[in-house]
Structure formats: C-alpha cells, structure tokens
C-alpha cells in the first residue's frame, strides 16, 4: 500500500449510499448550522489529519474556534497543514507502538490537555481491495494495527487527560471513525471491515466502562466520501454521488457538540470561558 493511505478515512464502495446504521451522524444539519460555537476553545486531537476526512476535520474544528493538534505520518504534509490551518502538527504513525506515547505527549503538552479525541487515521488493508482468501496476512495486520490497536493505545494513553477534562466540567468525547463496512459483510472489504467492526465494538465497551467517568464515546460512520482513499478503493466510483469530506466534518462537529451538551457542557460562553480561563 502507498504511504498516503493512513491519512484518510476509507469508506466502503458505494451502491448503498444511506447513512450508517450505527450512530449515523445527523444528516439534517447542514453548513452554517448556527449552534456549533460551543467548540470554541475545545482542545481537539485528530489522527490522520493531512488528507481526506481528517484534513476536513482539522479545518472544521479550527474554523469553529477549537485548538487542534493533528497527527499524520509524512513530515512535509504535517508541516504544510499545520501552517495553513494554524494547528499543531505531530508526525507519527498510529500503527507503530513506539510512536503512541510521543504522540500523546505532544497532544497533551501542546494543547495543555485534551477534551476531544478523533481517531480518524485508517488503513484500507490490501489495495486494490482483495477477497479475504487473497489478502496477505501482513495487510490484515496493518489494518488492525492502524484501525483498532492504534486507537486503543492512544485512547488509553489519553484517558487521564480526558477524564480530567470531564471532572473539570469541560466535557470529554472520543470519536472513532467507523464505516458501514463495520456492520455489513461486503466482499473484498474484509481487512478494513473486520478491523472497523472491532473498533466499533471497542468504542461501545469503552463507552459503557467510562460513562461514569464522564467520557462520551461515539462510533460515527461518515458515509461514502470523495476522498483520495475512496478513489483508491473504488477507482470507477461516480464522484458526484459521494459526500464531500467537508460536509461529513460538519456533521461530526455537530455530533461532538451534541455529546458535550448531553454532558452538561452548554453554549459558547461556558465552554469558551472555561477554555480561556486556563
């Protein structure tokens, strides 16, 4: 697989364009939703932040006034995005165990804490897509390392910071980017689908275990998007039928704001004030 694959959320090939069956993000909210200002001052970490959905999320969050740190593998791309989006850029590979704590140190160190973690970096598995019987074990291992174990490690390393945010009334949200391939057994999407299914279930269990500690866990399916990775997975897709990553990012921002509201973190004044008080 090429080096660019980890930085974009993969989506399923697309003859079924409906929103995901699990925690599908609110499709009714469009650009310009007036109620997203609570993201002001939020400290947000995004993995896979230099292309596709990740880049759109970096843009959407900074536009909404959040303080953003993002992670990606390629130093040059990280530098460019950090500069253009005025965000903290961190070079690291979510599939590499030794990278996780340096990433966590930089996220919490540079933001001074973390309120929202978005595990977006994903690996497609074999490219082009392959039947499981034709899938190299190494491709499956890499998909699982990036899509499941990496998010687990980073979430675990950031749990102290996230629960501290919750105790201080800032709220704490972990978003794991899922896919309808996590729910449906699409042929040729085995490595991706199985790893995303595991991530989806992990998210639900985290949510059960940490609910009382004040951390909201969301497994969100952004739908089929027009990203470089979708093009790689489905070269002949009609892009006019695909969602723009910017639109998915708006919907995810909305879902985060709603989760914060459920936790009693309301309105622009409150979040902004608390963030500014640091």
């Amino acid at each position: 697989m090429t080096g660019s694959l980890d930085n974009t959320s993969r989506t399923r090939h697309g003859d079924d364009n409906r929103a995901g069956v699990h925690n599908s993000i609110a499709p009714e909210t469009g650009p310009g939703s007036p109620d997203l200002t609570p993201l002001y001052g939020l400290r947000v970490a995004i993995t896979g932040g230099t292309s596709g959905l990740g880049l759109a999320l970096v843009r959407e969050m900074t536009r909404r006034g959040a303080k953003v740190a993002f992670v990606a593998r390629t130093p040059h791309a990280v530098e460019q995005t950090a500069c253009s989006e005025r965000a903290h850029g961190i070079v690291g590979d979510m599939s590499v165990k030794a990278d996780i704590h340096p990433i966590a140190i930089q996220i919490v160190g540079e933001l001074g804490g973390v309120d929202v973690l978005i595990n977006n970096a994903s690996d497609l598995g074999p490219a082009p897509l392959a039947l499981l019987g034709d899938t190299d074990c190494e491709d499956l291992e890499r998909a699982v390392a990036t899509n499941l174990i990496g998010p687990f490690r980073l979430t675990k390393a950031l749990l102290g910071a996230l629960t501290a945010s919750a105790r201080e009334g800032r709220g704490a949200v972990v978003v794991n980017i899922s896919s309808d391939a996590a729910m449906n057994p699409y042929p040729r999407w085995g490595a991706y689908g199985a790893s995303k299914a595991a991530l989806h279930h992990l998210t639900r269990i985290w949510g059960e275990e940490l609910s009382e500690d004040g951390v909201e866990f969301l497994s969100l399916d952004p739908g089929d998007m027009d990203t470089p990775l979708h093009a790689l997975a489905v070269p002949d897709a009609d892009v006019t039928t695909l969602k723009q990553p910017a639109q998915a990012a708006i919907e995810i921002a909305y879902a985060i704001a709603a989760a914060l509201e459920r936790r009693g973190v309301f309105g622009p004044g409150r979040t902004g004030q608390k963030a500014g008080a640091r």
């Binding site: 930089q106 804490g113 102290g160 201080e168």
Partner: protein
C-alpha cells in the same frame, strides 16, 4: 530496603504498611487499599504524566558526550517549554549509579548543547557546576516534538532494563509535566476508581510537576525538591472543601500532592485553585492544614520524601515502621511497596 528492580506498576504482591492516627502499625496488601477508605473520604492524585526528561547529547565546546536530565520549569503553561533547569552528567547512562557517574565537562554560561534533534544554550549555572538553566532553540511545538521523540524516562541503576514510556505512564496520566513519575499513583487503576465510586469515596486530581529524586551529588540532593509548579482545578478545590465540611479525610496520593495542597492552603484549610509554584520544604514540625493521610512509597531516612513523612507522624513511629519495612522485606523506589500514613492525633 531492597530496591524494586522490575518496572511493574502494580505487582500483585505489593505490600502496604499502614500507620494510623494513633501511630499503630499494620501490614496489608496494597490491593486492599480501597478497603481502608471510608465513605466521604477524598482521594487526591497527581495526574502529571512523565515526560522523557533524559536527553543524551554533546557539549559542543569540548565535543564531550553528556546526559541532560530536565529537572524544573517555570510554569505549567503549554508554551512555557523553552527554558528548564537541568542536571548534567558526563558520558554514560542509567546503568551506572548516579553517584558513580563521571562529571560532565566544565560548562559555562553561553555554552551550546546538542541534544539529538534539539539544541540549547546554557543561560547560567545555578550555583553548582552540574545544575544549570538552559534554553532550547525553536518553537514550543518543536521542543515538545524533540523531547517526545528523543528523550527517555529518567531512570536509576537499580532497574537495569531500559524504561519505556509506558512503564512510567500511570493510568491517570494527563499533562506530561513531571520529570520523574509521581509513582504513588501507580497504585491506582481504573478498577480502583470504579471501586471508589461504589464505596462513596470521591476522587480528584491536581497536576504537579514532580521533580527528580536524586542527582548523585550530596550537595545537590540537599537542594531537593526544587521549586515545582502545580495547578489545582476548581473542581478539586471544591471537592476538598466539601470533604472538610462533611468530616471526610483528604488522602493524598504521593508527596507531590501534599506539597501542592499545603502550598495552596489558606487559613482555615480552604484551597486556592489555579496555578502556583510550590517552594516550601515539608518536614518535622510542618503544620498540615489540608491533608489527613498520605499514600507514598517506602522511603529511606535522609531523603526529602522521608522528611515529608515526618510532618505526618513522629520520628519514633517512623523509625519503628522503618524496622518493620526492613524485617518484612518491603521493596523501595518507584516500583516498590507503599505506606499509608494518617496524620497523628498529636500532629493536628
């Protein structure tokens, strides 16, 4: 005492010596710590994560290899990472006991240090040839990246295998502002936090930039702990006030928590929330306004950690406890066994 030489945060056989407020000593399993708490008690832990503060590099003027151990900072501000106080060693690493390490080359103000991807200037010496104030080149983000990728956890020769970041990252670790792990917190895991809720025990955190515990130089060791910035969230100050009003005990997890809370104490036992810099030394005769009990490691007499325990109970009791720790094979240092000391009635 025997040094705990394996980097295991919660060994299943960890022991806990308890000194209650009547100076009675009992022995427990540390896994039973929760059972020693009462409904209405408040646990306060230090959520500082440990930064990889040991940086190998070179003193450029002499081209000699050095190890720099970051040891102090001005504040906890995320941007305030360009300047640190630091202890310098000559060539070598943790495999040699700090007191046996070769001295660094003669270092003067203005000298340049190359530390992996980082470079720094020595701003001045802090009244000792091995304690200096250094300033990194670059932006705060570049310094964070350099430390995160090049640094290693500070460690000592009694643990022979190289420490990884996850060895020193406590379950509740948050802001990476500690130079050595606030290791009393190793005793806590997510299961124990859930158990606290079940038992009606509250939990709160502070963030305290725990400094280094040993420099290998007797003269420098006497200056420990260095000044340490801390931050007390409003929610923690409120939880302490509530605990005091309702008659619960404030149980500090580690010496750093005691130092921060007592530094921020106002007359009457209220806590000032926000940031501060703990500059005081606690020991025999220190009045404790806030903390009712401390969970800590087992410490040897003569260390600043041991001195702090003298604020909780009398010397005769600590000596008695010391004999029992020896006799019963308690292990010491950051991966060792623990003591829980309630402030003696006579110290109230």
């Amino acid at each position: 005492m025997i040094a705990a030489s394996r980097p295991i945060q919660r060994p299943p056989d960890a022991k806990l010596l308890v000194i209650d407020r009547f100076c009675r000593i009992t022995h427990n399993r540390r896994s039973d710590f929760m059972q020693l708490l009462r409904r209405g008690d408040l646990i306060v832990a230090n959520d500082a994560a440990t930064m990889p503060a040991s940086l190998q590099g070179k003193h450029l003027l002499t081209n000699q290899r050095i190890e720099v151990r970051l040891a102090g900072r001005h504040s906890l501000s995320a941007e305030d990472v360009l300047e640190f106080s630091a202890v310098v060693f000559g060539d070598g690493d943790f495999h040699v006991a700090t007191e046996d390490r070769p001295a660094p080359p003669g270092i003067s103000a203005g000298d340049r240090l190359a530390l992996g991807p980082l470079s720094a200037t020595v701003k001045r010496l802090l009244d000792h040839p091995r304690l200096l104030h250094l300033q990194f080149d670059g932006t705060p983000d570049e310094v964070w990246a350099g430390i995160a990728r090049h640094g290693h956890p500070i460690q000592y020769s009694y643990v022979q295998e190289p420490l990884e970041m996850w060895d020193v990252w406590s379950p509740i670790a948050g802001p990476p502002v500690a130079f050595e792990p606030p290791s009393a917190g190793f005793a806590l895991d997510w299961k124990s936090l859930a158990e606290m809720r079940t038992r009606g025990v509250r939990f709160a955190t502070i963030t305290h930039s725990a400094g280094i515990s040993s420099t290998g130089d007797a003269c420098l060791d006497r200056r420990l702990p260095l000044d340490e910035p801390y931050r007390i969230p409003e929610s923690t100050a409120a939880a302490i006030a509530l605990t005091k009003v309702s008659g619960g005990r404030v149980v500090a997890i580690g010496t750093t928590v005691v130092r921060a809370l007592e530094h921020a104490a106002e007359p009457g036992g209220r806590i000032r929330s926000g940031e501060g810099v703990a500059t005081q030394r606690l020991g025999l005769g220190s009045l404790l306004f806030v903390v009712d009990a401390i969970l800590s490691g087992t410490h040897e007499p003569g260390t600043s950690h041991y001195d702090l325990l003298r604020a909780f109970t009398d010397d005769a009791t600590l000596q008695r406890a010391g004999l029992e720790l020896e006799a019963r094979g308690y292990r010491t240092h950051e991966f060792g066994d623990s003591v829980l000391i309630e402030r003696a009635e006579s110290n109230v």
